[in-house]
Amino acid sequence: MILTALAKGSTHGYGIITDVEKISDGRVRLRPGTLYTALDRLCADELIGVDREEIVDGRLRRYYRLTPAGAKRLSTEAARLQAHATTALTRLNLAGGIAT
């Protein structure tokens, strides 16, 4: 979800939290500690990187962006989920048109 949030462009920590909440229809609200543990791991795996820093109202904002490896990972994962969803919907249709 963090990678999805960053797919629209570089974003800062709070922006990622609000975007993930929006993407998940309010079901996922990342806490800052959890977010930064995940960001740290994603940076270590070179899936994301720091884009730039800004000082807003005296506070530091660091913007993160997807790296090419991160974009590739997200694309692969999205294709996998899409294939899974397509299979599920097709089977439901075949089973009696539950999905419309």
């Binding site: 800062h12 920590g13 709070y14 939290i17 806490r31 800052p32 500690g33 959890t34 977010l35 930064y36 543990t37 740290d40 940076c43 270590a44 795996d45 807003v56 506070r59 530091l60 904002r61 660091r62």
Partner: protein
Amino acid sequence: MTDQANLERAYRRLLVCYPRAFRQEKEEEILTVLMACSLEGQRRPSLAASMDLITSGLWMRVQPCVPRSVGAVRAAVRLMYVGAAVTTLSLILAIFSLAYRGRSAATLRLAGRSQSLLVAITVGVVGGLVVISLWLWMARENGRGRNWARILSTVLVGLATLHLFGNKGLVEVVFAMLTWLIGLAAVWLLWRPTSSAFFKPRSVTHVGYNA
């Protein structure tokens, strides 16, 4: 002092749970996010936010900082954490078992036997805690690419092999075999040709902050 200043000070105190290197780089940035997430008039962190920062900070201190590219070492470090968990479980079971026996002894008014069981429990707990600490220490140091830790891990597995023959009960034997196999697998992974480059001395710092 204003509510904001109080809250910020409380958050800074919680951020001490994180490794120093991480705080130097990210403290101000996380504070920005924490303050942005806070409610109007909030004076202290919520319990959930506090727990999140404490657990995340402590995890960051112990998490293996092995790059994904060194899969064998990552797997070995994970196995060591599994070893620590299995040892913890066996320690808990041993304590319950000894305590049950101790209660039976007390019922039978065998004061001397009860005393010796108390000593056995104490020794067992201390010994178990030492073994758990060794698992965690080895996981941490191998995760940092310390070659001495790789050698020490191998020696410890060798010592555990000797310990295998000293167990009597079935449960003891099962747990001893299980932890020994975990250790053996971890050591095997640490000595894979793909792992060796990770343990060579180098000037570049590993990823992660717990070094």
